[in-house]
Point group: C2
Chain length 206, copies 2
């Protein structure tokens, strides 16, 4: 199967495979098996073999997968073999934490600008970034052809800010506000909401 046609459910697992492979690689390990990967990730070895076989031949029976080769192929498929520019909109606690997080660069992303609409915050420094006025959002995003935003504004402002982002050409939004966003079909949204993750675990607790 062509890399253009991988089902969304498999695409969702590939970043997790990539992270586990990079963990192994950092330990100096050079080959792995679907069994070992499965144990690290908590997915069955059969599922991993099936997923990986969707985009080519990656290992002979018995010799395992070459980690370096699989990492390269996954980075290529996920298009993170380049450095994507990302903006953060909303410089509250989470916005600050993301702006100072040093885990983006080696995984394909670079924070290029950070925004807030609070006059008291605009102009202040957070790490290497000066907080820009959200009023400049459209202009700056278009100028720099930025396609990805992390949305860290309060829930009440999330939909209207998302609308602004879409108008300014953003095609992918990582939404930290605990509401479902309404966006056109050609705009991708992913959600980070700790409560939904906690709630899916409490089902299993006594």
């Amino acid at each position: 199967m062509n890399a253009d046609k991988i089902p969304d459910i498999i695409i969702g697992r590939l970043p997790v495979y990539l992270r586990a492979l990079q963990q192994l690689s950092e330990k100096g390990i050079q080959t792995t098996s679907s069994q070992e990967l499965g144990e690290i990730i908590g997915i069955s070895a059969a599922q991993i073999r099936k997923d990986i076989s969707q985009f080519g031949e990656f290992g002979k029976q018995g010799t395992g997968y070459s980690i370096a080769f699989l990492i390269e192929r996954l980075r290529d498929i996920l298009k993170v073999d380049r450095g994507w520019e990302v903006v953060i909109v909303g410089m509250g606690d989470i916005g600050h934490a993301l702006a100072r997080y040093n885990g983006f660069a080696n995984r394909g992303f670079h924070i290029s600008m950070v925004f807030d609409n609070d006059p008291k915050k605009v102009g202040q420094k957070v790490g290497d970034y000066e907080i820009l006025d959200t009023a400049l959002l459209a202009e700056k995003l278009k100028q720099n052809k930025i396609k990805i935003a992390m949305l860290t504004v309060p829930a009440t402002a999330a939909q209207s800010t998302a609308d602004q982002l879409v108008k300014a050409g953003i095609k992918a939004i990582l939404n930290y506000a605990p509401i479902s966003l309404n966006v056109p079909p050609n705009v991708h949204v992913q959600y980070i909401d700790p409560v939904t993750h906690l709630q899916r675990m409490t089902y299993y607790l006594d």
Copy 2:
């Protein structure tokens, strides 16, 4: 089907349904349809009907679902009709942001204590919480019978801290460190890693 036997993949969607229903309820809306819910969430109406039918009868053909009733039932199934006590371990930027986040209480969770192993941080206040020494973790968790932890330590400390949590009786970990954790089968782990979410969107970008 009994609420004890709902497949994990459906359980994963229920918190998202609950969040959308609560969004509608806050707007004063009293009934909804699988169509409307599907548009909010971005899931097909057929999938929603199928998921909801797994745990009972919730609406007559044509009259829609009672939002209040569905919220009550979902809160019951997910066991968030009570207030779960949660601890935060690791008071860096993300730990701070979570300690000050006010979106837990009305969705079933209460931060009860926060920990760090840095002597400079121990004893300091974050919002209403005094940072406790991680050395006290086992004692405090057992004393208070706490089962849920949010793990916000650096990646290099995540596995060893998870081991401590498991030993102290924790059964559910929300892990913010970008590594896969190795825990016993009776301990649940969910991951929050912004990069995996960004990477599954870049696949679709040009």
